[in-house]
Amino acid sequence: MESGQHMLRTGRRGTLFEFSMALRDLVTSYHRRGLAWSLAWHDVVSRYRGSILGPFWITISMGLMVLGIGLLYAKLFGISVAEFMPYVAMGIVFFGLMAGTINEGCDTFVQASSMLSQTSLPMFTFIWRTVLRNLINLAHHAVIIVGVILVFGLWRVMDPFPALGGLLLTIVNLAWISMLAAIASARFRDIPQFVMSVMQFAIFMTPVFWKPDAFPDRHAFLTLNPFYHMLTTIRAPLMGQQADGLSYVILAIMAVLGWALTFSVFAITRRRIVHFL
């Protein structure tokens, strides 16, 4: 429908038709991926306009947190700084990606309301915008990761490929959660508050600042926490350990089921999303 030359909108209904339209939206957003990228990049640039350090301010504040918590907790828990500092550093940075993508997901459509109600831009474009924006931020914070890897000599023991696999699975999962939050928040304005509370709760329930040594392997407390799997599949290989294969499997299953759910919800609500706003 969007060759740029031909626009067709119909009142036709039917489940199959709605799904094919949703798929079209996705495909169009892919063809216009440059736009999602421009918007994401513009978001980052405009947010920090006039500031010298820009997004690195967040990096600095994360870095300080890493230093403080790394030193303090290592002392409190009696763990060596060399072990705990990189652990916390990666925890904070990658959990930041999760919380950012999901929390900002709530604003995705609400923020784009004027564009959605006046143009035929694909809705997926705005989902990618949020995800890409958070990846750009992550690229800045990666300085911290590189820092701890160099300082604590992790490059000698780390295994980057499983970590990249974990990161990829994490992003795929974050994208659907972010999109589901975007749709739900457009319709119900209590959702952003709810999501924020959940993420605040999650940062303490997930081994970001603490080590799950007290739990036996595969304790329900960890296994049932999706953020644990996201974090551990990225962090463990970078620390020279092996993440439980089960975590990768869970993430993969979650990605498939999550996208199936989110895509269905999108297909069903797509025509009304613009009216929610």
């Binding site: 969007e2 740029g4 030359q5 031909h6 626009m7 067709l8 909108r9 119909t10 009142g11 036709r12 216009r32 440059g34 736009l35 421009s38 918007l39 513009h42 640039v45 405009s46 306009r49 004027s114 564009m115 959605l116 109600s117 006046q118 143009t119 035929s120 831009l121 319709r187 797509r270 025509r271 009304r272 613009v274 009216h275 929610f276």
Partner: protein, 249 residues
Amino acid sequence: MTDVSIKVTDLTLRFPVYGVDAKSLKKNLARVTVGGRLGASNTGATEVTALSHLNLNLRAGDRLGLIGHNGSGKTTLLRALSGAYEPDEGQIEVRGRIAALLDLSLGIDPSATGVDNIRLRGRIAGMSSKEIEDKMDEIAEFSGLGPFLAMPMKTYSAGMQARLAFAVATAVEADVLLMDEWISVGDADFQKLAHRRLLNLVERAGILVLSSHDAGLLRLYCNKVMRLEGGVASEVKDIRRLDELLAAA
């Protein structure tokens, strides 16, 4: 492109309104001159019928003026033509590249510079980065903003902002131009420029759909006219019969 066309068949568009109790509206449901029809859908939610059973066929060279009371559905029709809304019934088909100048502030970031906004707005309008860079000089020149283009847009006056937005929006190679009410922004010089550019666009085998309350303006730009009333369209008439349509009010 010679097969530029707009084809709207039996278009009905309703806005569901969330968070309003339909029952509390019942007593006010009498027809009023302003606005679309309020009503309750079969699920009980409040709905505004902004357009009902609208048919429209336009071909290259057609310059349609839309008239009608506030809330009669002009903006809604323009937005629907730009592809923002899914019809509840009927079908909208537009062939040709669409440029919608419905809202000057669309995609404008006041804290970004004029040049950045040209890029952003151009991207949203569907230009590639390369297309934008190729046209940058032309857009900059047409806007007449000179050194101000390197300044944040929030330092612009309303007219300056309008110039920039107009310059970018009309830089798109558009076959179908949709405009809502704003054409008379800018000073006398700029209006003359804008007028020429618009005529140029329309002459390049395009279609123009312009909504306005200003009969003089419509006579200037349009060759056809259609009247909307509570979402119901009159037939499309020649602009010379504008007075008839206005008198029907």
